[in-house]
Symmetry: C2
Subunit: 415 residues, 2 copies
DNA sequence: GAGCCTTAGTTCAAGTCGCGAACGAAGGTA
DNA sequence: TACCTTCGTTCGCGACTTGAACTAAGGCTC
């Protein structure tokens, strides 16, 4: 099979999709503004919007005076048209959230993981029950779809490989469906859904080429090219954390040596700090608390300052690699560790990147921090069913055709 | 501007483009086979091919018996429909080649560079004269377009930055046009055009996600995602050679430390060999000869073997980074140094890559050698006007609309 | 306040397009 | 010679976008 054929109806769907998308991301807009933005003629905008209004996807939203002519009638996507659920399946617990179509949070539920290596069946039961609770509590009885961010990679949109919780090839989509989730399911790596959220509503908004670089215990990246998430041949692209940065260097939990993650992942940073203190443990609490301690200590402790200096250098080189390879217009640093570091060190990280990236590309790249915080995995997951709706132009006939399989690889950013 | 609108005529062009593309890459084919491959109905294939035949782009190419039915009439793109010129603007000389539409070489001319830091005006004069000579000698009087591979980066499809020959922002496209090249011009980095040639006719053929990794004096990569060349925000993506592999390591000509190029670029390898021989110069000739000497010496000299061992390790780590970040289905190793190394060391390079890449992605990636040799830059450059023709579906009306500007970012591989 | 201007949005005829069905073409086979 | 199989073409149909004409709804001027 070479190419998709294009029929005259695909045209309609494509234009409907474009219209709906601009309305979603830039609305409210008048019909005239819609025409200007999409390039469609006034006639087409008129018939298409009439159709969307009849389908209850779009509603009128007030009027705006024009300079001495007929006032503009504003249109916007009706947030109440449908609801979506986003699930953040993390290593310590599941967060299940209900959103309206505008991705405003309606209700939230949290469920702890039954163990550190949980039985998929238990997790599925817990998540399905949480979804039911949310729907009952909010009086919502139908969903557009359910997006799930998982702590690992997703194969064929269905099977989950997540080393840290001991899942290897768990057919999560089927299990959730069998458990009673009868709506379209969209599975995706949690870091990628977090990145998706940043692309839609955070620091990545408007960028066509961006890399969301996430630092937590692990290190990963989500690459957006031409406005679409870059997945590679088997959806495992963006494993930035396990690129070699220090050939022959520190051992990494992946088995290799010198991975970026071993240096700028939270555990790597704290371990280097521990060694700098000659083995004395880093005091107090969990990893985030310890990293914060390190950042504070740097003001008075040369050892701590040196560890941070090194970290900035490593991170600059790692980000420089992203700049050189992907030539993005924007790099967005996030993850809980990334945000802690970035809050204090961003200017120095930028300077370190400049030392390692090629001048031309670096000068055209901005480096910023995530704006949504680490809890955005669930929103990001919830964007997936919405993205699918926008991509198919909310054509009711295309709904069944998609058959519950997610439409991936589309609309990573409001273009 | 959000999206391009789609009119009913774009439909036609799109389908025409698809048909022409499958015919170009997979022809000759019968109309029935075309329908099966493109998904178009027999009726549409019939009218579209009739149009293409009338436009003289497509010709009949014999018949094939079918099992007791009407024989298939085969169609193929007419190689004589148009000609294209590919220019390989290298550091030591320019190679100008004339091709037919099937990219069979018709004539060749070579011109040495006037100096190591040539005046753009001289180069332009020389290239334009060579093009005229080729046309006169072959009796060709019109061209579909001219593709130029340059030893540097291209900004906005027009300005060339090439450090090694001292060009910084040379408006090459305008100069060539002013010099008398009145056909559509397509400028592109030479490594990328070489990669393009491999994607169309070499080891990359058929791959949707691939990385062409090129080792010469310098080191670069061309990334193909979803069948299209990945350029990034400002067309400088793929600078693999200047990613940091050995943090704080050897100095690189780019000014940074520890770049991959400083270790696996030919100069880097030879310099390491020289040091291993305690400063004794590596004997005989130019760099390719020296590298070949090193490869031979490895069979008896432990010092040479050690240098190669290290090289394999560094290269494995570098390729592993490509695997982890891009998750390609295929990595194609080329460039003169890459081919020399690969010819003897490919199995070991694969093994070294396995040590650094994540298992999942590595197992789904094949690592192969370029099959076209280092002279394919000119063919690759010549693919650019052809790709533009295929992309616009050879619609005569779209010809003027493109206005001589190349249609880039399309059709990197026969999908 | 009547008439006119400006801007927003709708309706309609016209021109395209792809597709399914019917049909013609071209060979083999009984 | 009649029939079958496969390939390719023709034609009517429904669907699509668009420009132009037209209606809607306000401000402005005299």
């Amino acid at each position: 099979m070479d190419r998709r054929r294009a029929t005259v109806r695909d045209l309609r769907r494509q234009n409907r999709s474009g219209l709906l998308g601009t309305l979603f991301f830039h609305g409210p807009l008048s019909r005239a503004e819609l025409g200007a933005r999409t390039g469609l003629s006034a006639a087409t905008v008129s018939t298409l919007t009439a159709e969307l209004v009849e389908d209850r996807l779009v509603v009128e939203a007030g009027q705006v005076d024009s300079d001495g002519g007929r006032p503009r009638a504003l249109l916007r996507v009706d947030p109440g048209y449908a609801h979506v659920v986003g699930v953040d399946l993390g290593e310590t617990g599941a967060r299940v959230e209900l959103f309206d179509l505008g991705l405003r949070r309606v209700a939230t539920a949290e469920r702890p993981m039954p163990s550190t290596r949980p039985d998929p069946a238990d997790v599925v039961r817990s998540v399905v029950a949480a979804v039911r609770d949310l729907l009952a509590e909010s009086g919502v009885d139908d969903l557009l779809g359910v997006g799930v961010g998982v702590p690992g990679t997703v194969e064929d949109g269905s099977r989950v490989h997540a080393q840290t919780i001991g899942w290897d090839g768990v057919p999560l989509a089927e299990l959730l469906r069998a458990g009673g989730l009868r709506w379209p399911l969209h599975l995706e790596n949690g870091a990628k859904t977090l990145g998706q959220a940043e692309m839609w509503f955070g620091a990545g908004a408007g960028a066509e080429h961006a890399v969301i670089a996430l630092l937590g215990s692990g290190v990963g990246a989500m690459v957006v090219t031409d406005g679409a998430t870059y997945r590679g041949a088997t959806s495992s692209a963006g494993e930035w954390g396990h690129t070699t940065l220090v050939y022959g260097g520190r051992g990494c939990r992946c088995g290799a040596r010198g991975c970026l993650e071993a240096y700028v992942g939270a555990e790597g940073i704290l371990d280097r700090y521990r060694r700098a203190r000659s083995g004395k443990p880093v005091p107090r609490g969990d990893d985030p608390a310890r990293l914060a301690f390190l950042l504070d200590a740097a003001e008075r402790s040369p050892a701590a300052a040196a560890v941070l200096d090194e970290t900035v250098g490593y991170l600059g080189a790692g980000i420089g690699n992203l700049v050189n390879l992907f030539n993005p217009e924007r790099i967005v640093l996030g993850g809980w560790a990334g945000l802690l570091l970035g809050a204090r060190l961003l200017p120095r990280i930028r300077a370190a990147t400049a030392e390692h990236a090629l001048r031309h590309a670096f000068e055209r790249t901005s480096i910023e921090l995530c704006t949504l915080g680490p809890d955005a995995v669930a929103v990001g997951a919830a964007t997936l069913p919405v993205a699918a709706l926008l991509a198919r132009g909310a054509d009711p006939r295309a709904h069944r055709a998609a058959g519950g399989r997610g439409v991936l690889g589309t609309t990573a950013s409001p273009a």
